[in-house]
Amino acid sequence: MDFSFTLLIILIPLAIFCVLGLFANRVKPAAAGMVGTAGLFIATILSYYAAYNYFSMFHAEEGYLPINAFSILWLTFTDELQIHLGVLLDPLSVLMLVVITTVSLMVHIYSLGYMKGERGFQRYYAFLSLFTFSMLGLVVATNIFQMYIFWELVGLSSYLLIGFYYERPAAVAASKKAFIVTRFADLGFLIGILLLSFNTGTFDFAILTDVAGPVIAQSTGAVFLGLSVTTWAMLLIFIGGAGKSAMFPLHIWLPDAMEGPTPVSALIHAATMVVAGVYLVARLFPIYALSAPDALEVIMYVGSFTSLFAAVIACTQLDIKRVLAYSTLSQIGYMMVALGVSGYGGEAGLGYMASLFHLFTHAFFKALLFLGAGSVIHAVHSNVMNDMGGLRKYMPVTHITFLIACLTIAGIPPLSGFFSKDEILVAAFEHNKIVFAVQWLVAGITAFYMFRLYFNIFWNRTPAFEHTPHESPATMTVPLIFLAAASIFAGFVPFHELVTSDGKSFQTGVHWMIAIPSVLIALAGIGVAALLYYKQNSKAESIAHSLKGFYTAAFRKFYIDEGYLYLTRNIVFAFISRPIAWFDRHVVDAGMDLIGNSTVQVSRSIRKIQSGHIQLYIWFFTSGALLLTLIILYLNSY
């Protein structure tokens, strides 16, 4: 089977970006939207076709083998160190192709309705295509260097889309924040890449992650501060992943990124780009599992802490998109935990499978939540929970699909979130009981804050609306219905047969010993939320009041932003930037000025020679010629 057509999946969005980007002002908005959506539809069909063909090529003993569908040599450093650009197909990248194209297509269709009449509609579609291109290029990268290139492109398109409403100062600030924080993390990623490739002499994933290969075998190399070089490299690479996936303490950009258009939040900041960190760890998983287990422990603790931390903040936020943003953090924390507790190969790789399973289901239900929230925002023209309530009467489709998504994320069987969360909890239980307990608790908090959101939007008191809210147009409800169906049925995909750490399938099922407590705590969370928010009452306020200090801290996001501001203003600026600026102004610039000024002075004093009198010039010339003649004569006389 020739898979070279997969290159088209990536090139179609690029072509659309070029066309829409270059001719944005000549194309009618509707035409731009249709071109973008149609192109992505083709790419989606192609990636489904690729996935179908790939997963039908199962080898009984070796499992799924990676396929190099396309590869060209791009740069040559030495005979061994070469950089290719290409398309790598393995279960992981095929899975990501399907997720990205599906969610992106849904967002493209949804945006036709949501963004209708916005200024810069064509620009919006051009950026969406750019993002889709970069994200697809990222997941099919054959080597870590190509991945880094697309990694940065993804960051750029995220920046462009967060700052789409560039007249709003908040959006501009948010886009800059996202770009700077992720760039800062990418510095770690770059150093990690350099360390790893310097140590191993290759960028190629096929060699890097070869279990029997030289890279994993030589893991016990040089040691620095008690950890091997490989561990350091993998930790630094994880910093890049943590920045993109908004893990604590680099999470601060994601809630602010909600300033972008809501469909963008659904696509980039919920379903695809923010899971790039999970994808990165999963892509390099054999190295993590076999030669850098310490790094994997760090990933587990970071993921676990982030999921708890974000879940607590999500309970207090009033902006519905911010609640969803913190919920995204929490769910990505789950995926990181699952990777952190996983081993390599077969049954031990349960966590790896669970993590990607959760990535898969989360992409659908979180995109659905965001698009549903977008539909609500579209109807009431506000992001804030207090302006909503009782919307179930006005927006039945949004209500039902949002309810499905909430039940899915809460982990109620038989919806997809139940299966993936169950696998994660099982993997965590086998590895580390404390982390399991935290994740179990977070499952309850998740159910609570999601239903707090649900009841506050669709039940509770009905505020006096300025305009009567109405159901969104079909372009917006059809993606909602599709994603709701995907959220319900995605759990039945036999992931343990498709995407595993070593490509071989293994047997697993629902573990009721773990599943029943987790469903119970989810139901408890829903019950508490119903008690507090189903009808208008003051119980929630009184609880918040009794927890005053803690509530305020959580509401203010535990002062992390303020901490960073203090750190940058009072320490980085005062002790590093200002002295450097002083040095630049008073030493570097002054040195340059000195050279310039002295040249001016010297030339001013000698310029009188250029008098304009031709005969003077002839004098100089003749005397020079005579002098030269005399010198030559003198030299030749010996």
Binding site: H613, I614, Q615, I618, T622
Partner: protein, 105 residues
């Protein structure tokens, strides 16, 4: 037998001629006189060409031809120089080099 004029007579003559021309270029203020000085220097060179050709390589003609070429170039150069001088005169109403010193610092 009639003795020939020795070579160094010619060289002395041409050297004298050259430095007279150079002196003219250096100290005369009138542009036309300076041009005459240049012509003198060119002719000093011509004498050298012809003399060396005659005394050192009597069976060859390169020196003669070179002198002819120099004469032709000198004619062209005189035409250009006089055109320049006429233009200078039209603009500044003078042919003295001391008054034409606009191209300075």
């Amino acid at each position: 037998m009639q003795s020939e004029i020795p070579l160094h007579y010619m060289i002395v003559l041409s050297t004298l001629l050259f430095f007279i021309g150079l002196l003219g270029v250096l100290i005369r203020r009138n542009l036309i006189t300076m041009l005459m000085g240049i012509e003198l220097m060119l002719n000093a060179v011509n004498i050298n060409f012809v003399a060396f050709n005659h005394y050192l390589y009597p069976h060859r003609m390169e020196g003669h031809f070179f002198a002819l070429i120099v004469t032709a170039i000198a004619a062209a150069e005189a035409a250009v120089a006089i055109a320049l001088i006429i233009n200078i005169y039209r603009r500044f109403a003078t042919v003295s080099v001391d008054d034409v010193d606009q191209l300075k610092y």
